[in-house]
Symmetry: C2
Subunit: 273 residues, 2 copies
DNA sequence: CGGCCTTTCTCACTCCGTGAGAGCGCCTCT
DNA sequence: AGAGGCGCTCTCACGGAGTGAGAAAGGCCG
């Protein structure tokens, strides 16, 4: 929902046309297809402009024009780009399988997170109707590292400068009443996490939900990722915590072994399978 | 690639900026990430322009800037758009399962195709290392209906005017030496396909590969999609043909039953014109 | 056949994107 | 460490590209 208030908003010196074009794409995506008029109304752009931009998108295969139904829908190039993105983030199949095993064994949603540039990003998730993922924690989630279990593991694996930089960009927004929002508190917590090798997060991100994570390390011993689980807090007893930690360490060991064994990154060709 | 000579190229009156922006996106996708300079060189756009456009893409989350590695890679919004596209094409789970069963039973790659606007598009594929898909036939493939088995089924399910329109847009390009390229020949063939209820395609699309398809019908008896398989021609004996037809009809029956039973989220009627 | 909606076209204006060039800052090589 | 190279950003004046009102063309409906 973009407000098209031209006067008030301090327009970044971006390329206005690009922004308009992309917002059209997103409107069509949100609504599952839209007519030009709907877009025009929703975004406040004049009709001819909308048509021109949409035609540009159609001719590049980012949209298709369903003439019969007088609607625009998303085009096929978006699938290819999505696939490319997944290939760039590149979670190897053995790792996927390991997260699947974690999900099965722990009977919780299972996650795998990696660094990407200065960010911490969810790269793979396995869940099921009985054990669903935390709603915002899908592929590509890269916010609020201070309030998630895998985020803490990954922050603990960064240099102090990197942590500073991360927090400068993202801040420490309060997600729930338990979220840590003071830097001192977080630093102390991260020291503990680094010491124990496991991070717990009790309702600091979503009320009623608990997460835990363990780091994945490469041959040099550096944290390169994290395996994590999430579960309703009510299901987490002392015994259950021990059990989950065991599953996490187990998964982490297997994944770490994979990353140590060579095939770390960019194996050139996305090997079959 | 010279950018200097504007007069020679018959520029469509598209929005040039949009085109440039999207081509940047695609370069980054192809190469699995790129620096601004690489993009500038590859596309022949001046560096500042590339930076400006890339920053616009970054600020909309279509790209990310990995400052550490001085590279741009694809952003997370592309995943969401890809997911939206899949939702718009919307192959219901029971249908997916049926194609999976087709793959298992027939021991071939399995396909499901639907109408989308005036197009015929591959909506779902199940394959495996032993039985891989035909290389260009991935999700979103929508060309050369005259040379594919599912394309023939879907053309046979369209009105003559719809077929005319389709062929006007796409033509009948020769794919192999067996491709039908005359309209009369195709019409005759389609009549046979409509009569038999199954379409075969012997090396008309890719040399050495054979495909077959059977239509999926809704409650009104209209073709709304097609189930298909592909296999190396050398594996196709007379007996095997019979067997594959049986599997296809079986899959088609199950899928058709699903579409008759109500739950058709979209009335995938062949809407054209 | 006549209304209504979608889509395309035209055209003059002006605003927006453009791109050379300079300058800054980080990484690397010696 | 210093020097050099490279990646990245900013500025600014020019010019053409995008813009958007308006109207006309094309379809579908009753």
């Amino acid at each position: 929902m973009r407000t098209s208030d031209v006067s008030a908003i301090p327009r970044e010196p971006g390329v206005a046309t690009v922004e308009k074009t992309l917002s059209i794409l997103e409107i069509v995506a949100e609504r599952g297809g839209a007519t030009a008029k709907e877009v025009s109304l929703a975004l406040g752009y004049p009709l001819p402009t909308v048509y021109r931009l949409m035609q540009a998108l159609v001719s590049s295969d980012y949209l298709v024009h369903l003439k019969g139904q007088r609607r625009f829908e998303l085009g096929y190039k978006l699938d290819r780009l999505g696939v490319s993105l997944h290939r760039q983030i590149g979670v190897p199949n053995p790792v996927r399988a390991e997260i699947g095993r974690l999900h099965d064994a722990a009977q919780t949603a299972g996650y795998f997170a990696v660094y990407r540039g200065a960010d911490v990003v969810v790269a793979y998730v396995v869940d099921s109707p009985e054990h669903p993922r935390l709603t915002p924690l899908g592929f590509g989630f890269h916010e609020a590292a201070h309030a998630t279990a895998f985020g803490k593991i990954m922050l603990a694996g960064m240099t102090p400068e990197q942590v500073n930089q991360y927090l400068e960009v993202h801040g420490m927004p309060r997600m729930t009443e338990r979220t840590m929002t003071s830097r001192a508190q977080l630093d102390e917590h991260l020291a503990g996490v680094g010491h124990l090798g496991v991070a717990w997060e009790h309702e600091e991100f979503v009320p009623g939900m608990t997460c835990a994570a363990v780091g994945v390390r490469n041959g040099a011993g550096m944290v390169v990722g994290a395996v994590a689980i999430s579960a309703p807090s009510e299901q987490i007893s002392r015994v259950r915590e021990r059990e989950l930690e065991r599953y996490l360490r187990d998964a982490s060991n297997h994944v770490s072994r994979y990353y140590r064994s060579g095939q770390t990154r960019k194996p050139g060709a996305p090997a079959a399978a």
